[in-house]
Amino acid sequence: MTTTVRVPSTVADPVPSGPVRRRRQRPIGGVVGSTALWIYACAALIPLLLMVANSFRTTPSLYSDPLGLPWPLKLDSYRKAWTEGHFGEYFTNSLMVTVGAVALSTVVSTMAAYALARCRSRFFTILESVFISGLMLPIHLAILPIFYLLDGFGLVDSRLGLMLVYAASGVPFSIFVLTTFFRQLPPELEEAARIDGANSWQMFLRIMVPMVRPAVATVVVFRFVPIWNDFLFPLVLLRSREKYTVPVGLTTFFGEFSTDWSSLFAGLVIATVPLIVLFLVATKQIVAGLTAGLSK
C-alpha cells in the first residue's frame, strides 16, 4: 500500500524561478482564508496532541474527566507499556528490521542506480524499466508466495526474513530517485578520475557517492517511514511475540490492556516517536535533496 502511494510525496513546491517579483501578491481568500488554514492545521494536530496528552494521565482520570489536562505528568503508563506491554522488545525489533532493511536496500540501490545512469545499452534500459515497474506492483498481494518462499529458506518467524522482504520492496523507489540524481552529475568528474587511474569501484565510492548524499538522505527517510509503519508483513510472517515489530505488538497490546486506556495511549506514542525524531532531524536534508532535484 505504501510504495506506490508515497512516491510523489518527494514532489515539493517548485522553487520560484526567475527574478523575484517585487509586487506582493494578495493571497486568495485574505484573512478568512488564513483563518481557515490555521483552523484546519489545528484539526490535523489536535488528535495527535490528545494522544500525547492522554498518555501522561491515568486511566481513572481519563474516565472521570475525558477532556482534562495532563497535569501533573504521570509516567506510569509508559513504564507499564514498555515493560509489561513488551514495547521494549517490539521497539528494538522494529528498529533492527527497519534500519537493516533501509541500509541494505539503499546500498544495493545506490550501486545499481549508478550503473543504470552510466551504462547506455538496451540491456540496461530494459533493466531500469523492470525496476521502475516495481513502483506499481501491489506487493502486499504477493504475501502468500512470499510466505512460502521464506518458509523454503527457513525464514518464517524470523526478523531477517522480514528485513529482506522490506529491503527488496524498497529497491524500485530508491533506484528511481537515485538514478535521476546520478544522471544530473556531469560525466567529466569520472573522466578526470579515470585519467588519475581510478577504477569503477573507487570512482563510485570516492566521487559519486559523496555527490549524491542528499538523494541518499531522501531515500533513507522516505523508506524508513513505510517500513516502520508496515503492518501486514509482520502480521503474517512473524509468529512469536519476542520477534514482533511495533505495529503487530500494538494489536496484541490492545487486546490485553484494553481497559488500561492511558497505557494504550502511551503505546501509540511509543510507536510514533521515531518518526517524529526522524522528521525533526531530517527536515533540512529532505528539503535540500528536493530542491537539488528541482534546480536542474
Binding site: 541494505l104 523492470v130 501509540l268 527536515t283
Partner: protein, 299 residues
Amino acid sequence: MSRRSGFLFVAPALLLFGIFVLYPMASALSYAFFAWQGTTRGGFVGLENFVALFTQEPFTTQLPRAFGHNIAFFVGTMLIQNTLGLGIAVLLHKRARTRRMLQTLYAMPYLVSPIVIGYLWTLLLSPTFGPVNALLRKVGLDSLALPWLGDPSTALWVVVLVSAWQWVGFPVLLYGAALGGVPEELSEAARVDGASHWQTFRSIVFPLLVPAIGTVSILTFIFAMEAFALPYALGGSTGSPAGATDFISLLFYRTAFENGSTNAIGISSAIAALLFLVIFGGAVVATRVLRRHQDRVAA
C-alpha cells in the same frame, strides 16, 4: 563504465528484487489456478477457484459487500480528502511565508502508521471516555454523542473520514506543486480582463490542473483498493460491527489465514488476483482517459 562492471553493480539489487518481489508477484497469480491441500499444491483447476468466489458462501455475500465498501471508500476519499486538499492548496498558493510551515503541519498525520491512527480513533471515539463525545456533550450536542464506530450505519463513514483526515496533506502537496507550475501570466491576464478569482480558477487554472487531478485520482484508487491496516485497527479482521467495515484485503486475509478450509490458498489467491486485476485495470483505464484528455487540450 564497462558493461561488465555495470552488471556487477546492478547484480545485488537485481537478485534481491528478483527473489523477493518479482518471483512472488509472478507466482501469486499462478497460485489462483491450482487446487490446494493445505500448503501442498494440487492439480491445475483452471478458473474453478474464481467460480467458487461467485457461487459459494460466504464469498457470494462477503465479496460484493467488501468490494462495495472499497468503492465507497474511494468515492468518499475523492470527495472529501481530495476536494479539501485542492481547496487548501489553492488557499496556500500565494502565502509564501506560511506555506512550508502549514504543509508540514498537514503532513504530520500521514507520517503516523495507519494502525496507530486507527487505534487512536477507536480511543478518541470511545463511548465511555472518548474526548469526542465528551466534547459534543459539553457543547450541548448530546444527540450527536453516538457510538460512531459501534453502529453499522456510521462505521464505514468513520473509516472514510479518519483516512481523509490522515491523508489530506498529501493532495495538498501534489496540488501545491501543480499550482506552482501554472504560468503566472495566464491568470494575471485574465484578472486584467476583469475575471473574478473564481472565474480565473475555473477557466484557467483548473484545466491546467487536470493532469495532477488525474494522478491524485489514480493514486487514491490504488490506495482505496488496498486499504487494510486502518480498517483492521478500526474494526478488526472481520470488519465489525457486522461486516460494516469489511474490505477486500480483510476478506483476503481472513480467507488465507483465519479460515480452516483446505483450499484456503487457492481461494484467497483468486481474491488477490481479482484485486490485482481491478487495481491494474483501473489504473490503466484512468491513465488512458487522462492521456486522451491531455491530447484534446493540446489540440
